[in-house]
Symmetry: C2
């Protein structure tokens, strides 16, 4: 057994049942949603209070033991993999919704609340929390804050950091700090809230989160369209925006995914079609009716082969299930699938798609596209087989080419998924060295002993 | 003349005409929009390029000379007052709009661009940049970024930081760094963009800014309402939001301001009315027609004495002029007006208004209210006379009571205006000492010689 003295102290803090040391248990905390990495922790603790977390971090800080925070482990950049061993601190038992305040339009939750559980509670109150990563059925709110998660609704509603108003954080030395509050405007000193949001668990552990909510839109309609030509589909998306309409979602899938969806669901998609668009509009009833009509007109004028308004919620749900099936289809299409997250400026999307096609042809790897058409974040997924060493070497090279292509077009390494382990070798290509220097110094202020999720984001960290 | 050697070097960098040292010139840079502070700089420089700014900061850093950055000086928390003397670095000559990218929905500008000049250019392109501080006619975009400015449109559209995608910054040692980019999603390391946004010129000088734009809403309507009772007005605001309608603006003025507006404009306001609400809805034509109708119904049901839909743009503009006249009226109503910026959670607004009434009665100072009803940011303005020493002492005490009341209700020292000089004595009441410690350490990383806008935000800084 790993360091029995430490185990004993952890058991004294959280209780015997909340400390896992069996090989079988440790194995399940060795990985997250990321394809190519895993590493076993030495121990897993499941605290239920802020004070317990404070005690755990005090102990870890004193003994210089790495601590990797984790929610449901749906991270897909390796952020919740305990790459240095040590403690995995799992927040899933801290899953209380502490307050839903209708009058202030806020919710305060513990980090382990599953996003969809929160969504279900809010729906009953006619409230709405927009950030919607694909993992919403199982990811924790704490994880979405650590990763600053996005999702399809971001085009209209923005990402997680636009909804975080306040938090309680346990710093790496165990100090419990409150930052932000519950007002929608707050201008007191530097923005620590946004420093912690998206810091990938490297600066502390968020133990309470106050989120800004919005009233649930009264109505929603879904529009489904098929194009023979990706460029034409892209042009319509631009036209919709240019007409002053900001849809709630504009999702985009390519021919490969259309074929896979039809194979699985038989909903009558033309399997030779090049591109499918799935668009949601929401707002007041009059607004969605009018906007849906305008979008249908623009789709038809823009050369859509099919452009259809879902007649009711059931049909709308069928289309969105098809979209989700698309993702599942991608992951089952090859032994190893690398779901990439590079993002380019909206006006460079067609250039980027052309470049991806070239890279695919040159490398021989299939690259399929599914993602958010309105914000240049189209998640190119590369198919390979992680058992083949040669494949993996070529894969690294191919991914580097994809990143470089995105950066050349003014894009970014990651739109939503974060750096974690997956992209740290590339960070220096994307950022000014001084920016990395500033970030590392900030890390040094908050975590001088480098115990919080070490060896993430930067090389040699 | 102050340090002729430095003056000579500054002249070599920016040219003789762009260095001001005459007493008369220095006097005009001794103050900003803040009521109770002023301090003369030793020299004013007006650079036109990033490289010039880099050279100026290198020199200042080497010689340990304070540098206070400034745009139009509309700041109302003292942020652009050169309280330690030294150099005022004024960015107003760097006023080029470098790019408006319709396809990517972004604009890249220099810091000295006046916000309304940008707005006018964008309107021609059917684009929209929402942040709208009251100073929009003269404030610079750089200033709004330094202060993370808000305004009436924030209830629907959010504050400045939600629109800043990328920036070029000259760090205090002269290093020129690019952070962020031109994508709407970006997850590469810690969020330095939001660290600089709202840092009040204490971390560096922003020399280029890439802003996210949105398509201009196709239609807009203005609704005007009068209530006999502030609580009833507040209840209707909550009801509007609960019905899933998020208006573009919900502004609120009290009886004092109604009287002053009517005195100046004679538009038929009932001068005995307690509260006026001014509401804008925007979006597609169908949406605004439907939402305006719903809001009118809610206003009437909720006891509005008058609830009127502006029939056209001219009438809408008249109402918004009345709102602006209200602000002018406040400033001309007393020798000294302290426009406060404390903000409370939305659900505590009526408690806060009651408390302000008590404080006003106790202190004898008139306190009037005008501001943003939807987000708890109602700008209580305190009337006094800065020539009366006794008044000023009581004023300090009264302001402290207002801050403490807001903090007790879960509010914040500042919703929009920042800390600057005005509120630094109170920061320790609002933040955890460790939070201040972290902020000061971050300042230390970026500005170890403390030359950038020193003596702001924190005491003894």
């Amino acid at each position: 057994m790993w360091r029995p003295d430490i185990i004993k102290q952890l058991e004294a803090i959280v209780g015997k049942d909340s400390v896992l040391t069996e090989k079988e248990d440790l194995a399940t905390y060795a990985y997250d949603g990321t394809t190519t990495w895993s590493h076993r922790p030495d121990v897993v603790v499941l605290p239920v209070t802020t004070l317990q977390i404070s005690s755990i971090l005090k102990l870890a800080n004193e003994k210089r033991i790495p601590v990797t925070p984790r929610g449901s482990g749906t991270n897909i950049s390796g952020g919740s993999i305990p790459i240095c061993g040590g403690i995995v601190l799992c927040t899933t038992k801290m899953n209380r919704v502490l307050e839903i305040n209708r009058a202030n339009l806020t919710a305060t939750v513990e980090p382990g609340v599953v996003l969809q559980d929160l969504n279900n509670l809010l729906a009953k109150e006619n409230l709405f929390y927009p950030p919607d990563p694909q993992s919403f059925l199982s990811c924790t709110v704490g994880g979405t804050v650590a990763e600053n998660s996005g999702g399809p609704l971001c085009i209209k509603y923005g990402v997680t950091k636009q909804y975080v108003l306040g938090m309680e954080v346990v710093l790496p030395d165990g100090y419990i700090i409150k930052i932000g509050g519950s007002t929608v405007k707050n201008r007191t000193g530097y923005d620590l809230l946004h420093l912690f949001t998206g810091s990938e668990g490297t600066l502390g552990i968020v133990t309470k989160i106050t989120l800004r909510l919005i009233p649930k839109p009264a109505a929603k309609r879904t529009i489904f369209a098929i194009f023979d030509d990706m460029t034409a589909a892209g042009a319509v998306v631009s036209k919709i925006l240019a007409n002053g309409i900001v849809p709630a979602k504009i999702e985009f899938v390519d021919n490969f995914v259309i074929r896979r969806i039809e194979e699985k669901m038989q909903i009558g998609l033309p399997v030779d079609a090049n591109t499918m668009l799935l668009i949601d509009v929401d707002g007041s009833l009059a607004a969605v009716e009018s906007e849906a009509k305008q979008i249908l007109d623009l789709l038809n004028e823009g050369g859509a082969k099919i452009a259809r308004l879902a007649k009711d919620d059931a049909e709308s749900m069928m289309y969105w299930k098809a979209r989700s099936a698309g993702f599942a289809a991608i992951y089952s299409a090859a032994r190893t699938v690398i779901a990439e997250d590079v993002t380019v400026p909206r006006d460079r999307l067609s250039d980027f798609i052309k470049k991806l096609d070239e890279i695919s042809k040159k490398s021989g790897f299939e690259i399929v596209l599914i993602g958010h058409a309105g914000d240049g974040n189209i998640h190119p997924s590369v198919f390979t087989d992680s058992r083949e060493k040669e494949d993996l070497e070529r894969l690294d090279q191919t991914l580097t080419e994809i990143f470089e292509a995105a950066l050349e077009l003014g894009g970014t390494l990651s739109g939503e998924h974060g750096i974690g382990l997956e992209k740290k070798r590339l960070l220096a290509k994307a950022l000014d060295p001084r920016a990395i220097d500033i970030m590392r110094n900030i890390k040094g202020i908050l975590d001088p002993n480098n115990i919080m999720n070490p060896n993430k984001i930067w090389e040699n960290s």
